[in-house]
């Protein structure tokens, strides 16, 4: 696009972001502060993910963007267009064809490979923020690996409700050291992060943090021996492809309480129907 550098950001900014990414990869799960820039999309729309993608994407990359698992959701369309316009890169909706996948709130059903990178858009990089709103205090807990409060919170859930009342953004331990927010993916997706062959990068633009899970790194969802982690999904099968193993969206079809369930991962669903 005239008047703008490749992929919007100037090269100095990209270099600053790449340095943050390198640090993040070196310390899995640890949040690295970075001088996030104002982007032409609002905070909350994925400015962190967009900056990470802009810093790593090259002219030969093939980009896939999903939001809620789908390529056709409004925000995914908007971000895909942004990179098509500012970087001129090839875009795709097929998980297997993409070299970079930017996502909001899902991990694709199709397993990712070592030659792929997944970039998560992260609203709240600090996993402790609901327990300790002060980021300065939370940072100290990370330094001391003092995560007792989070275990107590999960324990209290179990005593009150008989189960952990966390449906998405279920906290994970990375490489047995740092507590990390997996971003607001459903708990169903958490196991996919464990020993994933692809590099996982996380960008939080408003909070100005980048973190990473390098390939083949241990990612464990917090749980207890007698209350093991339980990744949930709707019990139905997909009304379109008949899938029973994928994560499902619930779609309201009338005002009489009628519901339909369909794969949230549109590429997965379409490939099963093809």
């Amino acid at each position: 696009m005239d008047g703008y550098n490749f992929a919007y950001l100037d090269e100095q900014t990209k270099r600053m972001i790449r340095r943050a990414i390198l640090k993040a990869v070196a310390i899995p799960g640890h949040q690295i502060p970075f001088a996030g820039r104002e982007m032409p999309l609002p905070y909350g729309w994925g400015t962190g993910g967009i900056q990470v993608t802009a810093a790593i994407i090259g002219p030969d990359d093939v980009l896939k963007v999903i939001d809620q698992g789908a390529d056709d959701t409004t925000n995914a369309v908007s971000i895909r267009r942004f990179f098509a316009r500012t970087a001129g890169v090839r875009t795709t909706t097929k998980t297997a064809e993409a070299s970079v996948i930017q996502t909001r709130h899902r991990i694709p059903e199709t397993p990712l490979r070592a030659d792929q990178i997944i970039v998560y858009q992260v609203p709240m990089p600090e996993p402790l923020y609901k327990l300790e709103p002060s980021r300065a205090a939370a940072k100290r807990r990370h330094a001391l690996a003092d995560y007792g409060e989070m275990h107590v919170k999960l324990y209290e859930d179990i005593t009150r409700f008989g189960r952990v009342a966390v449906a998405y953004d279920h906290p994970v331990m990375v490489n047995e050291r740092y507590l990390m927010s997996p971003s607001p993916i459903p708990a169903f997706d958490n196991p996919k992060m464990h020993m994933m062959p692809a590099l996982q990068l996380f960008g939080a633009g408003r909070e100005k943090r980048i973190y990473a899970v390098p390939p083949f790194t241990e990612v464990k969802s917090l749980d207890f021996e007698d209350h093991p982690f339980h990744p949930g999904r709707a019990e139905q099968k997909c009304a379109l492809c008949g899938g029973t193993k994928s994560y499902l969206d619930e779609i309201v079809i009338d005002d009489q309480g009628g519901r339909m369930f369909a794969c949230s991962d549109t590429d997965y669903c379409e490939s099963r129907r093809a």
Partner: protein, 353 residues
Amino acid sequence: MAYVAVKGGEAAIAAAHDWLAATRRGDPAIPQISTEQITQQLGRAVDRVMAEGSLYDRELAARALAQAQGDIIEAAFLLRAYRTTLPRLIDSEPVDTSEMHAIRRVSAIFKDMPGGQRLGPTTDYTHRLLDFAEEATPAASLPPVEPAPMPRVTDMLGAEALLETDVCSEAPPGDLTMTPLKIPAGRDVRLQALARGDEGFLLGLGYSTQRGYGHTHPFVGELRVGEVAVSIVPPELGFAIEIGDVVLTECQMVNQFGGSISAPPQFTRGYGLCFGHADRRAIAMALVDRAMRAAELGEDVTAPAQDAEFVLSHCDNIEATGFVEHLKLPHHVDFQSELETIRAMRRDADGRV
């Protein structure tokens, strides 16, 4: 020259007003902005002034904006000061937002639902690239929007009893403009205060809840914008007649709730309703409304947004701007006494060394 020159305040004020009038008008060679131009082309500013000025009148709000040189709070102040002079003839019937002619209706909690998602004239998915074109591109001719029945998304959740039921009250709602704020305040009064509260304050407070200071697990169940009919029941007629339409933005927030001794785990509600097309205001309002329900729902009250007295006492920007800005008025009598006090304290302290 400065106002501390003991006499001459009257002449200084007159000169300041002349200067203000000249500054407001700007270069006389440049055409003056008309009220129509403001209502047509600065609609969001007009909406905000109507909300914070607490008076639905696009033309008066536009006039106030021009007079205030575009200062939103000053314009809202002008509108409030005018509003207070208007006689109250009659209360309208409650408006029914489920009958809204929605130009915009989105739900973040379902991919699709009856009535569908309708983006309307939103900036949500624009790329914020400053446009250097002198003339705005003429709008493409749009197909007419067919008003479609749009059941409330929250009613669809309510059908499964997963959402708390809203209690309907026949009692006349409180009115902050007629009776002073009393703490604790009912939800009717709290919502009224938020509906006309400062957008920036609501935004900051709502945002603080999202960052952990009184977290409420919010989801936008539904956000809708459109015209709603206003009707009154004249006593001499005894039945309702429509007297006009107002554009409203309504946000129904759905928040996770763990349950209490008297209520099972379910979703609870935060509510936002305001004049004009104002997504930001309605969403922030719904966040703060829900946060202020913490005590009622048995949650710990630890954060500013959960403290109803704190929120309600500070959300009105006409009150706030008056008191903050009054610091520039002469205070030399008080300051003189402070000077004497600090000198005396200093002498005592020096004496102790």
